[in-house]
Structure formats: C-alpha cells, structure tokens
C-alpha cells in the first residue's frame, strides 16, 4: 500500500486530518472497499494495542522496590540493579585504592637509583619486575637504614613451603667490595666452574661446607665482567679451604632432577641445592642480588647456561622469590627485584 495513504489512514485514526483531508478520504473509502478494509484492520490493531495496555498490571514487587524512594530515603536499599552496581563499583574502588596504596608505598627503584646502579657497573635496563614485599616501614632515609639484608638472607634458614629442599644456604664468604662476582657459563653437568674470588676474610658465617670433592680454581677476572674469570685475592687464602670445599659441591653436578641456586649478594655468595619447581629445569641457576641504600634493588641471573631462555631467567627470578627476601628485608627495605636480561650490560 502506498506510503502516503497509510499516513493519511493513520492520521485519520488519530483525528489529525484537516477537514478537507477528511472529506477527501471519506470519498476514497466509499469508492475503494479495499482501502476501507485496510482502515478497519488498522483500527482493530489500534484497539488491540490499547487493550493490551489496559490489561497490563504492575507486579507487586515494584512497589516494594520503589518503597524506599517513596519514604524519602536518598537511596533505595532494595533496588536490585542499583545495589548490584553499587557493590561492583565499591569493589572496584576498593581494589584500585589497595593497588594505588601498594604502589605508593613501594615505588621501586627510582630513575636516579637506576642511573646510579648503571654507574656502578649495572648498565642494563630492567625487563621484568617482581614486587616481593611489603614496603618500607622505616622512617629513616635510605642512607641511614641498616644494612644487612644480605647477611640475614645468608644466615636464614630455607623458606618453608616455597622450595622443597629445606637445606639452608651455604655461605661461601664475602667478596671484597667492588670485586667481580663471576662465574663462567655453567653447563648442566660436569662442566668446570671458575673459582669465585674472595678478598675479605670474613668466613665465620660459612656453614655446611661440603668436603671430599675437588674444586677447580679459576683464573683471575676483571671487575664487572661476569663472563671472565675473577682475580684471586691473597687475603682470602686463609679461608680458602672452607670456601673451596663449599664450592666443590657447587662444581659437582647436581643430583639427577635437582638444581642448585647460587646467589651473590653484595659481594657475598651462597648456594643451595633445591628441588626445582615444575616450571624450572634441573640444573644450575645463579643470581646476583644488589643491595643499595639498605634495599634489595636487583636480582639478576648471571652466568648460567649460555642458551638460557627468557623463561629460565624468569625461573631464576622465581627462585629468588622463593628465598623470601622480603622477610629478610624485614620490612625495612623496598624489596622490588629487577630481573635484567642475562648478560646484558655485563
């Protein structure tokens, strides 16, 4: 049917036609029975819509839902959609507030501190970050905060639950400040390990040194070059026996299915056997942890298999997480660990 006549019929039903338009339509309706039938159909449908409207009833539930509004409460308690949205919004806001607060308290290394680390021989940019810990609770400025996170880490027992092997870290002794803490790349089994060079004499913490296996000393290395042999220090010779014995175990292949983690912390080194989690391969992992200003600033995998994949670096980082450095830091240090690409800037 023509669109124009449909509109005329529609307007006729609503009494919207002018007098002359009405007369014209009436003439057409008399002359065209089909058109009259169309109009009658439209009229019946129109009445049906009105009947449908009049038959509609408001469910009683609506009154109870709107009742708080009727009683003048600012926000109706029983409004379901409103309550749901409110609850969702509250949860989002709360979550955001928690995240913001955590980030505020643990901003991680600043640009300045990272620049300083680069000057100190750690030029690589971080690629992954793992926030470990509760954040600094100390009101002391970083330079006045007590050092010793590494010492406590070295002396601490193995964390419960995180790693299967409860054997505590083996303390190999301190290295002199600024001394290169380096291993040659270590291969999974039976491959030589260069000697770790120590210049200071503090070995009182050494414990659990394993005897009966040979240690292969390494050639001297250069400062900051983690892939070159370290230099030997005469001052540490008195304790070389103990240290060598400890290193001897490190040099030996880890038991089948086991792994070893070697950690450098501010010149000290420690290692332990552990059962690798399913995400980590058996073998050796070495991680250097940098503590500056009383804070654990970095934990970077060093040495290790030359073919170590990024996933292994992550694995090493997870091992560091397993050491619960945040607990060692005792809440006094920002304990964000930055894992840098293996070998980058080294």
């Amino acid at each position: 049917m023509d669109e124009t006549i449909v509109e005329i019929l529609s307007r006729h039903l609503d009494g919207d036609l002018k007098a002359d338009e009405e007369l014209e339509l009436l003439a057409r309706l008399e002359a065209e029975p089909a058109l009259a039938e169309e109009l009658e159909t439209m009229r019946r449908i129109r009445r049906s819509v009105a009947v449908l409207a009049s038959s509609e009833q408001v469910p009683a539930e609506l009154d109870s839902l709107v009742d708080p509004l009727r009683r003048g409460r600012p926000e109706p308690v029983a409004l379901r959609s409103w309550a749901r949205w409110l609850a969702t919004a509250a949860a989002v806001v709360l979550g955001a507030a928690v995240i913001i607060e955590i980030n505020r308290r643990n901003p991680g290394p600043s640009v300045e501190s990272m620049a300083k680390l680069r000057k100190e021989g750690h030029p690589a940019e971080p690629t992954e970050r793992f926030t470990l810990a509760p954040l600094p609770t100390s009101s002391l400025p970083p330079e006045q905060q007590p050092l010793g996170a590494s010492d406590r880490l070295l002396a601490s027992p193995a964390p419960e639950g995180e790693l299967d092997d409860p054997v505590p870290l083996e303390v190999l002794g301190p290295l002199e400040e600024g001394e290169a803490r380096t291993f040659e790349n270590q291969k999974p089994a039976g491959v030589s390990l260069d000697e770790v060079q120590a210049k200071s004499q503090a070995v009182a913490e050494d414990k659990g040194a394993r005897m009966g296996e040979s240690l292969r000393p390494t050639a001297p290395g250069e400062k900051g070059d983690l892939n070159r042999p370290p230099q030997r220090n005469e001052k540490g010779r008195a304790h070389e026996g103990d240290r060598d014995a400890a290193l001897q175990s490190w040099v030996a292949s880890p038991p089948m299915g086991q792994a070893q983690l070697f950690v450098f912390i501010n010149g000290k080194s420690a290692w332990r056997d552990f059962t690798p989690p399913s995400t980590c391969k058996a073998g050796r992992y070495s991680v250097r942890i940098v503590v500056t200003g009383g804070a654990v600033r970095e934990a970077r995998p060093v040495g290790g298999a030359a073919l170590a994949a990024p996933s292994q670096r992550l694995c090493a980082a997870e091992l560091v997480l397993g050491l619960e450095i945040d607990e060692v830091a005792d809440g006094e240090y920002p304990a964000e660990i930055v894992v840098e690409p293996r070998g980058s800037g080294q």
């Binding site: 449909v6 819509v49 009105a50 469910p59």
Partner: protein, 174 residues
C-alpha cells in the same frame, strides 16, 4: 510525606507507575529486566523532581526520562536501536529479521487471537516504531507529547507512526 520540589514523588509514582511499567515491559525482553529498568527510571524521577518546575507536562517529563533510560539501557545491553529506512519495505526487512520471542503462554489462553498476534507483532517491531505506537495507542499521548518525549519533530512522529502502523499491520497479517 516527603516533598521534592513542586511535585510529590509519591503522587508521581502513583500516577505513572503503570505507564512506566508498561513502557518498560514493551521495550525489554523479560519481566525481571522490566522491573530493574522501571525502578531505575523512578530513581531518576526521584532525583529529578526537585528540579522539575513544570515547564513541560509532567507526563512528558516522566516519559522522557523513561524513554531516555530505556534507550540507553538497550544500547548498553547490546540491543542498539536499529535505524531503519524511511520506507516500509526496509522496515519490513528488519521486522522480519527480528527475533520472534512468542507470546506468554498464560496470556495466550485468555487473549483473543488478534491480541496475541498484535502482541507478537509488537515484539517484532523495531523499538523506535514500537515506542511510537505504544505511546500513541497504548498510552494515548498526543503527537506533540510524543514528539517532546522522543525529542523529534512532530512531523517525524506523524510519518513514523504511519510507518509503524503499516509495519505492525503487515506483521499481524503475516
């Protein structure tokens, strides 16, 4: 009784609870959804009443709030109002592609065949056709009130209502 501005909310609710509910019922897909949207509409009415100064008819004002909310709700729910062409054939294409939700069984037993057909056809009708038919034939609003409610020119109401009725008739007869 709690007063808000010139008009008491209680009176507004008593006067418009049924029309708003009916409109919500026509523009939503379930009674649950209609309940939710109706209460949201009355929250907005409640909030807006203190600012209502009577420049517009109260019915127009309430229906405006209802339509705006329902339209936004439909968009949010992914059932964006379909913009259809200005000819009935284009409208008919969309009508035929619409989902047939079928009448409520209980209503079928007590309604006439024509009522059933009209109800089914209304559900198939695109929303901006459905709303104009409903406001005119279901709520008996004038062209001007519909134009104010939908915020369109009165000429658009005339033409849209004619197309909507034509499409509805085609659906009923199909």
């Amino acid at each position: 009784m709690w007063q808000t501005g010139l008009v008491d909310f209680d009176l507004v609710y008593e006067r418009f609870r049924l029309p708003v509910w009916r409109l919500a019922r026509r523009l939503t897909t379930s009674e649950e959804e209609a309940l939710d949207t109706t209460q949201e509409i009355f929250i907005r009415v409640w909030r807006g009443l203190p600012g209502f100064r009577g420049e517009a008819k109260l019915s127009t004002w309430v229906f405006q709030i209802a339509w705006n909310y329902l339209r936004a709700h439909r968009r949010k729910m992914g059932r964006t109002l379909q913009i259809i062409g200005e000819d009935i054939n284009a409208a008919q294409d969309l009508v035929e592609s619409a989902v047939d939700t079928g009448p409520d069984p209980e209503r079928r037993t007590r309604a006439t065949e024509l009522l059933d057909r009209v109800e089914v056809a209304l559900k198939k009708l695109p929303e901006h056709y459905r709303v104009v038919v409903w406001l005119r034939d279901g709520e008996d609003l004038s062209y001007q009130e519909i134009a104010d409610t939908l915020d369109v020119p009165i000429g658009t109401v005339r033409s849209r209502l004619a197309r909507a009725r034509g499409a509805l008739k085609e659906l009923v007869e199909s």
